[in-house]
């Protein structure tokens, strides 16, 4: 996935990178309990392939993976920080 920012900079991401960075409560954990990404060591290929990306308002992207996982809302500021 590639993003061209408002200021002209661009960032590229792999599905694998984005999947491991998923900010959703299930993956990150909530209320002090660790999330799924802290418990597993590896993810299957269908979990790492991006299926669809939806714009949420104008502040975030919802990224859906082939496995069906789509609960993470990646804010643009988060993505900007992740991007190379």
């Amino acid at each position: 996935m590639a993003i061209e920012w408002e200021d002209g900079r661009s960032s590229t991401y792999t599905g694998e990178q984005l999947r491991w960075a998923c900010p959703c409560a299930e993956c990150r954990g909530e209320a002090g309990a660790p999330g799924r990404l802290a418990r597993v060591k590896s993810l299957s290929p269908d979990e790492l392939r991006i299926r669809d990306v939806t714009l949420i308002g104008q502040y975030a992207l919802q990224i859906a993976f082939d496995s069906g996982h789509a609960t993470g809302l990646y804010t643009f500021s988060y993505l900007r920080g992740l991007g190379a």
Partner: protein, 359 residues
């Protein structure tokens, strides 16, 4: 004497700067259908980005004077028009609200500061300027738009879609239209989100220049649903001058900033009161609090509205004051604010959101 070329005309018009967009009107593409005839008569269309443009008259006289001063020009005809542009230079219209060019949210954080009154009059003032305007009442628990616009009819369904209610030249939709009467809406948060989404998706809004959205107080479900469902062009924050209102207004503003929704600015309502018997000016809720807060936060101050009996009376009677008493100070204040909002909104038309490509 030789007749000037169209390029010469464009060169002088290029000296007119749009104060809000910070660029000259030629490079912004506002000059259209430019013609110079053999007798030296120049005619062109000056296409503004909003019919509520605060500098409309100044642009026209500037254009006339600058072009009239070119040697060889015998007459100048300027046709002023407006074409509201789509927000954010989007390559394709959004799937929700496809015919709506700009969405303007009116929020306050705190309740009871006159948000709905401002939203109704803002919509009516934009309509008066010539724009196509809709008003969505996103207050599910306390819808006040039907009463304030004197529209209590129930929306009809055509091909499975709700038709907005028409009143005062506006297209309206409120939960108060869908469920009239005094029965309360008893909903938990997620249902509020669903209801607001339904009023965007299932209502046939048609083509609109502006959709004004009257938000309920708070920084929760309603605001969040809206900011997630559509790219809001900007949000105008209403507050009264006293600290207890500006403090909460700032929270609302910061919420929208977090969601990357541009604050169009702050509006101070109930800013002063002129006593009808003694003519003395009272500042019941203090004065200038919103302007000071706007300065502190680095956002525009859009204007102040007086506390007037007429505004309240006409709201209760179902006609916005900008229509019923257009010459009152209150109506003038609303019109000034509407043109400021329109100008700030236009700036968003020239912004490009990040482009996302998935390979």
């Amino acid at each position: 004497m030789a007749v000037p070329s169209t390029q010469q005309v464009l060169d002088v018009l290029g000296h007119i700067q749009d104060p809000d967009l910070g660029r000259d009107v030629v490079s912004l593409g506002m000059i259209k259908e430019l013609e110079v005839n053999a007798q030296g008569k120049v005619s062109f269309t000056f296409e503004l980005t909003t019919p509520a443009c605060p500098v409309r008259d100044r642009f026209k006289s500037q254009a006339q004077d600058l072009v009239g001063d070119i040697p060889g020009v015998t007459g100048v005809e300027v046709r002023m028009t407006a074409n509201v542009r789509q927000a954010f230079m989007r390559p394709k219209p959004s799937e929700i609200l496809p015919g709506v060019k700009q969405t303007i949210a009116v929020a306050s954080g705190k309740g009871g500061v006159g948000k709905s009154t401002v939203a109704v009059n803002l919509a009516a003032a934009l309509r008066k300027s010539g724009a196509e305007v809709g008003l969505l009442d996103a207050d599910i628990y306390g819808p006040s738009v039907p009463a304030m616009t004197g529209s209590r009819s129930v929306p009809e369904q055509v091909n499975g879609r709700l038709q907005p209610i028409e009143a005062h030249g506006l297209k309206l939709m409120s939960f108060g239209h869908i469920y009239p009467g005094d029965q309360p809406t008893i909903y938990r948060g997620p249902m509020v989100g669903k209801a607001i989404e339904a009023m965007m998706v299932q209502v046939d809004w048609g083509r609109l220049d502006y959709l004004v959205i009257d938000l309920p107080p708070g920084t929760g479900d309603a605001s969040l649903t809206l900011a997630q469902a559509i790219p809001i062009t900007g949000v105008a924050i209403v507050c009264t001058p006293q600290d207890v209102a500006t403090d909460i207004a700032i929270k609302a503003l910061q919420m929208f900033r977090k969601l990357n929704v541009t604050p169009l600015g702050l509006i101070e309502n109930m800013s002063w009161y002129i006593c009808p018997s003694c003519g003395h000016r009272h500042e019941i809720f203090s004065h200038g609090g919103a302007e000071a807060a706007a300065k502190r936060l680095g956002v525009p101050f859009l204007g102040a509205i007086p506390l007037e009996e007429g505004i309240r009376e006409d709201a209760d009677a179902g006609t916005p004051v900008v229509i019923s008493r257009p010459d009152s100070p209150g109506a003038k204040a609303f019109e000034h604010i509407a043109s400021q909002v329109a100008a700030r909104t236009s700036i968003q038309s020239f912004r490009q959101l990040p482009v996302i490509n998935v390979h």
